[in-house]
């Protein structure tokens, strides 16, 4: 009985952590100074008059290997400036980052630490560490020092369906 209770205690802490994350979402939505609007498109290559060009299409008939464009539009809807605006985007497991970009930092350790992809190392199990690759990225993060009232913009990243 004692042992069971101990296990429950352990599980409770994990569960309550999840619960805290889940609860945070709706609570923050109510009266936020900044609105975030996520969208996703699929990049298709079309050949028109013999010329290839990339077009963005609604994400239907998406299969492994397709390239997706995830966008998050932000807008300061309040009358006050917003400072230290940090947007964190966990990568869905079924996609991998297409390429690193100077506009955001990445994490290859589940969001514990962030930085430029170049120079990051990742444990590969056998021969110690190896340089991290775009497919190792677990989270990406944008940092905007200041958003003025009414200011808006779009944050985006490209990902490939695994």
């Amino acid at each position: 009985m004692n042992k069971v209770a101990h296990i429950f205690k352990g599980l409770f802490s994990v569960a309550s952590l999840c619960a805290a994350i889940l609860i945070a979402a709706p609570a923050a939505h109510a009266q936020s100074a900044v609105a975030l609007d996520g969208k996703v498109k699929v990049e298709r290559t079309e050949t028109v008059d013999g010329e290839q060009r990339t077009v963005l299409a609604e994400p239907t008939s998406v299969v492994p290997g397709d390239k997706l464009l995830f966008t998050t539009a932000y807008r300061n809807t309040s009358a006050e400036p917003v400072e230290n605006f940090i947007v964190t985007n966990p990568l869905p497991r079924a996609v991998m980052l297409a390429e690193a970009d100077d506009s955001f930092e990445v994490s290859v350790d589940g969001g514990a630490s962030f930085g430029p992809l170049a120079g990051m190392m990742i444990a590969d199990g056998e021969a110690g560490d190896r340089p991290a690759k775009p497919e190792d990225v677990t989270h990406i993060r944008w940092t905007l020092p200041l958003i003025q009232p009414g200011e808006e913009g779009v944050l985006e990243y490209h990902a490939i369906v695994r």
Binding site: A15, S16, A28, T60, V62, T72, N84, R93
Partner: protein, 324 residues
């Protein structure tokens, strides 16, 4: 208590999610997988630190139709009087469960002969070898069983030779595998035709693949040559009464492979008498009696059952007669 159980279930599902591998399949995430993206922001405003989440955008991964096929035979499969079996492997390189239609075409350009396709079977017991009566023969219009993503299936094409083939003739049999949902140029969409009602999209293989299995006619033939040497009682070679005639019968197996039930018989010529105990096969004496050795002989003739004759080998039978 109910409360505690709920938390237990929540904790358990969290653990399972964490254990999911990033890329479960070489061929990509499975059809029906949901890609859900949510961004969250923290910032500071006049009201202090704040957090906000974006809406969650969701993309459903659709079914990719792809297939690969490879021959499993190390080289050309010998074919002789009877049928033979060509072995192939069909792999579902798509990301959803899919069955495949198989078509065998024995008329490939460059063939010396076109075999007859008797049946296509799947390796039901998975041992890599065709087992008649155990491995399921696909009827006309039947597809293979449904293959999971990355799953490979061994299939057999059972063929028989046409009449009139010669040793060394070669032939190829083409086996085509096509996704049962459909094929087409890469990117072709079959709306709602994929697993669980997702779209099915033709992949880079065009959702079909074909390869050739090779056949080599392996036919053995027998040539028989008979010669005679006469030794007369006077040290010469005159065919006079009392002279001994040694007959030599050489059976030469030509071509490739082997023949079964090779039997050499001859009759004792009129006017001569078989010299008892002179029958040999490849220089080894055989008894005249009908017993365990290969040969028997009598006043009427000789009869040697060689058995299996291998191509490239001579089988030599000798016996003596005396001119009456």
């Amino acid at each position: 208590m109910t409360h505690a159980r709920t938390k237990l279930a929540l904790a358990a599902s969290t653990a399972i999610l964490c254990a999911l591998p990033h890329a479960a399949h070489a061929t990509g995430v499975t059809a029906g997988t949901l890609i859900e993206n949510t961004a969250s922001a923290t910032y500071e405003s006049g009201a202090g630190p704040q957090t906000v989440d974006s809406n969650t955008v969701t993309v459903t991964v659709d079914e990719l139709l792809d297939v690969a096929i490879a021959t499993q035979d190390a080289g050309a499969v010998p074919i002789s009087g009877g049928g033979t079996v060509l072995t192939f492997e069909v792999t579902n390189t798509g990301n959803g469960p899919e069955a495949f239609d198989l078509t065998a075409d024995p008329a490939v350009t460059g063939n010396d002969f076109d075999a007859t396709v008797d049946a296509i079977a799947v390796d039901t017991n998975g041992n890599g070898t065709y087992d008649p009566g155990i491995d399921t023969i696909l009827g006309a219009g039947d597809s293979t069983p449904v293959l999971a993503p990355d799953e490979a299936l061994t299939v057999f094409v059972i063929v028989s030779p046409p009449a009139g083939i010669s040793d060394g003739d070669t032939s190829q049999v083409n086996l085509l595998a096509e996704a049962a949902t459909g094929t087409g140029t890469p990117g072709t969409v079959f709306t709602g035709a994929g697993e669980s009602g997702v779209d099915a999209v033709v992949g880079s293989s065009s959702a079909d693949a074909d390869t050739n299995g090779a056949l080599l006619a392996s036919l053995a033939t027998v040539a028989l040559a008979k010669s005679a040497v006469i030794a007369d009682p006077f040290g010469g070679s005159e065919a006079v009464p009392g002279a001994v005639v040694t007959y030599t019968l050489v059976a030469t197996v030509q071509g490739s492979g082997s023949i079964t039930n090779l039997r050499i018989t001859d009759i004792i010529p009129t006017g001569t008498t078989y010299a008892a105990g002179t029958l040999t096969l490849d220089a080894a004496s055989l008894t005249d009696a009908d017993d365990s050795d290969e040969g028997k002989a009598s006043a009427a003739g000789i009869d040697v059952l060689v058995g299996t004759g291998t191509a490239g080998t001579d089988y030599t039978v000798t016996f003596d007669v005396t001119i009456d």
